[in-house]
Symmetry: C2
Subunit: 201 residues, 2 copies
Amino acid sequence: MSRRAGAARERVLAVALKLFARHGVAGTSLQMIADELGVTKAAVYHQFQSKEDIVWAVIAPALDELTRVAEAAEARKRRSDQLGAVLSGVVDLVVSHRRLTAVIRTDPTISALMRERPALRALEARIDRVITGPDPDTETVVSAAMVSSALLAVGMDPRLDGLDDETLRRHLLGIARRLLRLRPLPRSRPGGVPGRDAHPA
Amino acid sequence: MSRRAGAARERVLAVALKLFARHGVAGTSLQMIADELGVTKAAVYHQFQSKEDIVWAVIAPALDELTRVAEAAEARKRRSDQLGAVLSGVVDLVVSHRRLTAVIRTDPTISALMRERPALRALEARIDRVITGPDPDTETVVSAAMVSSALLAVGMDPRLDGLDDETLRRHLLGIARRLLRLRPLPRSRPGGVPGRDAHPA
DNA sequence: GTCTATACGCTGATAGAC
DNA sequence: GTCTATCAGCGTATAGAC
């Protein structure tokens, strides 16, 4: 993955994400992207070799961050700390990239693309395992599926558009923890609860 | 909405849903549908006037059922009964049409189509109002958004494919109620008792 | 970096034979 | 109900000038 950051390149990625969120990847043509930028298709092709290239470049930052979240969680010793770390990491990711996480979760083109990459399937499996633990019962499996659906898909929900990041983060985390039967976090940063302090922003 | 039921028509709808779930509506061509059926595009066009027609016919049963769920819920007097009714109704719908509800919730083409129809926007608003009540606080709004995302999107989750309908229904309903801070239903014991469970409602 | 111009396959859709 | 044949338009992608 080449990730030089040119201004034109970043502009393409921004409008691509916006259009992917509105029309889906398959429903977004290079013509639409070019029109939105006020340039021609050829100008877009100067920045990216193919449409698939654009898709990967759009989602890469979130996948990278998700990888770091998994690593940070797995570095914890106790399972409850691992779970807390992955939840707060995913919530941070969702809040800071609302549309992007929703697109990644829901778009069929992106799902198909990711399914073809063993490294990404493995990443999903790692996150899963941290959430459910080894050998989960049915209730745990269903809870985990619901939490991941709920967190990743809410980013697109228009009813939450008006909420600022900090408010959304607090509620998402609280509700996700309740869904998974974790004890509520204290209101402000506590001494006794590890979770947020250790990993860099 | 015309809804004559011919065998060929139903066959088209079945493979269309399957392909919509896998590739999205925009990613599914009439050629793909025809190929999957072993016929030509023209044969498909004999059953439906346009691709959009197929989409509406595919999602109509779920929308009709959702309308009935809203009506049944609104007929209840107490708010807690209304909420319970809408939750169990939506869970039934999700379980009996797993892929379909997920497609309706996540596909951008379908979202856009529905957004253009005032009747459907109104339906969504009614469901919303039953879930949150009038004048909800922020926590309630976020919970409602998470519940609806979680319930509607889990239908596509491959990790739940192996679960039979009754098991899935019981867990989804229990978890959804916990997420919304409703008391657990009498039938399932808190703590998740293994072994046999009560019969359906 | 952006443009014009072009290649060519596939799209949704129609007409008319069987 | 299904077929063959056909259409205009748009899709991704490329070549080469400025």
